[in-house]
Amino acid sequence: MDPSTNKKTPETSTSKYVISRRFDRIFLEIHSIYAFNLRFFKEVFFPPYEFKEIIKQCYEVGVRSLPLISVTAFIIGIVFTNQSRPSLRDFGATSLLPALISVAIVRAMGPLVTAIIASGRVGSSIGAELGSMRVTEQIDAMEVSATNPYKFLVVSRVLATTFMIPALTMYTTFVALLGGYLNVHQNELTTITTFFTQVFDAITFLDIIASSVKSVLFGFTIGMVGCYKGYNSSKGTEGVGKAANSSVVTAMFLVFIEELLVMQVVNAIRAV
C-alpha cells in the first residue's frame, strides 16, 4: 500500500492476484475431483455395460499381479515370522507366533501390502495408459465416435480394481500365512493343522469384515486416482510421466490415510 496516495501498489495487487489464482486452482481441482467421482456413481449403474472391457481389466489387475504378489507375500510372511520370534522367545511365548502372525497379516499387512503393490503396478499403469491416450487424442477419438470414454475407460478400470484388490488381498493373506507357516514349521515343528487352528482362533469376524472393507476401499481409491490423473493429464509426454508418478504417490498416501481411519473405526467398534 502506498501511504501517500492510500492506493494499492502494483506489487501488492500482483501478489494478491497470484495468491487468488492459486486458491482458484485449488478449489477448481477439488471440484474437478468431486465431479469425477460423482460421475462414476452416475455412470456405473446405467447401460451400456462394458462387460468385455471389465473382464479384460480384471485380468490385467488380478491375474497379471499374481506373480509379484505371490513372491512378495511369501517373503513378507517368512521375514515377519522370523523377526517376531526373538521378542516372543524372550518371554517364552513362541507358541503364540501363529496368533501374532495371523492378527498382523489379516488385520493390516495383507490389505496394506496388496494395496501398495497394486498402487505401484496397477495405479501407475492406469495413469500412464490413460495419460498417453489423452495426449495422443485417443480419448477424443472415442468421444467423437459417440462412445462414452469415461464409461469405457474409467468405469471399467475402477470396477476392476474394486473387485480384484479384495481378491488379491485374500490371496496375499493366504500366501503370507503360508510363508509364516513354513518358517514356524521349520523352527518349532508345528503341524499345519495346529498352525491354522491357532491362526483362525486369533482372528474374529470383525477382523475379516474390516480387512474386506479396507481392501474394497483401497481398490476403489487406486483405480480412481490412476484414472483421474491419467484422464486429466496435461498435454505432452511429460504429462504422461507426471500422471503415472502422481497416481502412485497419491494412491499410496490415500491408502495410508484410509488404513488409519478404518483402524480407528474398527477399534471404536471393538471397544463397544
Partner: protein, 257 residues
C-alpha cells in the same frame, strides 16, 4: 488444381456458423466466425498455426464448447442438444485427427470394429467383417487388417484413421491437418483419398490445413482464418488474388521460400 465438384448443392447447408467466439483464458482464438458448408462440398480452412483452425472443428464435433455464437449442424442447433442427441449427431460426423488417434492397444481390425460394435448392434460378425473389408479397400490398406498401429507408417496410420471415421458412413468429414508430417508423395496420396472419399461416400468435408498443395488439390472452396476471423474466401486462386501482405506471405512461404 481440383475441378469443383458438380454435385455441390448450394441450397443445402450442412453446417451453418454465425458469430462463433472462443477464448482460452484471456486469449481470444475465434473472434467472430461465420461459415457455411454446403452438401457435397470440400471446404479448406487455411491459416497459420495457433489461429484456431483445429479449435473450430473441435467445436463443430462437440469436443469444445463455444463461448458465443450459433452453430447448426445437419439442421441441429448444437448449443441446445442433450448429450444423447449430441451422440446421435456425432454418428453423422467423422473426425480424422492430426495424429490419427488410433487405439494403440488394438489391431487395425479392432480399431475399425470398435465403433461398429457399439453403434451397429444389429450387425453380425459376418456383416461387420464385410464393412471393414469395404473401408479398408477404399483406403487401399486391405493387407494391414491384423497389424498393430505401431507397425504402420505415418501415411498408413492416416489412412486407417480415415477408414475408422468412414465405417459409420458419416455425412460430414472433418480432417485435422491430413497431410501434416508426411512426405510429398504420401501427401498426394492422402489428397487423392480425400477426393475419393468425397466422390464415393458423398460426404461434405472441412479440411484444416496450412499445406497449400493440399488446399489446391482437395478444396472446392477455400477460406482463410486471420486474427480469429475468416478474411478471405472463394476458390484457391480467388483467395490468393489479393494485396493483403499476410495472405501473400502465407502463399510465398509455401510456394517460393
Amino acid at each position: 488444381m481440383k475441378k469443383i465438384n458438380p454435385n455441390i448443392n448450394r441450397d443445402d447447408k450442412v453446417i451453418a456458423i454465425r458469430g462463433l467466439q472462443k477464448a482460452f483464458d484471456d486469449f481470444e482464438v475465434l473472434k467472430c466466425v461465420d461459415l457455411d458448408l454446403y452438401k457435397g462440398e470440400n471446404l479448406v480452412v487455411l491459416g497459420r498455426s495457433g489461429t484456431g483452425k483445429s479449435v473450430l472443428i473441435k467445436i463443430i464435433s462437440g469436443l469444445l464448447q463455444a463461448d458465443e455464437g450459433e452453430l447448426n449442424v445437419l439442421g441441429e442447433d448444437v448449443n441446445n442438444l442433450t448429450p444423447r442427441q449430441m451422440d446421435a449427431l456425432r454418428l453423422k460426423i467423422g473426425f480424422s485427427f492430426q495424429n490419427s488417434a488410433l487405439y494403440d492397444s488394438m489391431t487395425v481390425k479392432e480399431n475399425l470394429e470398435f465403433p461398429l460394435v457399439r453403434h451397429s448392434k444389429q450387425m453380425n460378425q459376418h456383416d461387420r467383417d464385410r464393412v471393414i473389408d469395404i473401408v479398408l479397400e477404399a483406403v487401399g490398406l486391405s493387407q494391414a487388417m491384423h497389424q498393430m498401429p505401431s507397425e504402420l507408417s505415418g501415411g498408413q496410420r492416416k489412412r486407417i484413421g480415415i477408414a475408422r471415421t468412414l465405417i459409420l458412413r458419416p455425412e460430414i468429414m472433418l480432417y485435422d491437418e491430413p497431410t501434416a508430417g508426411l512426405d510429398p508423395i504420401t501427401c498426394i496420396e492422402i489428397n487423392k483419398l480425400i477426393n475419393e472419399v468425397q466422390r464415393r461416400f458423398n460426404t461434405s468435408s472441412i479440411i484444416i490445413t496450412h499445406d497449400l498443395t493440399c488446399a489446391r488439390a482437395v478444396g472446392d472452396r477455400v477460406v482463410m482464418l486471420l486474427d480469429g476471423e475468416f478474411k478471405r474466401q472463394g476458390t484457391f486462386d480467388e483467395v490468393f488474388a489479393t494485396e493483403d501482405e499476410r495472405v501473400k506471405a502465407f502463399y510465398n512461404y509455401n510456394f517460393i521460400d
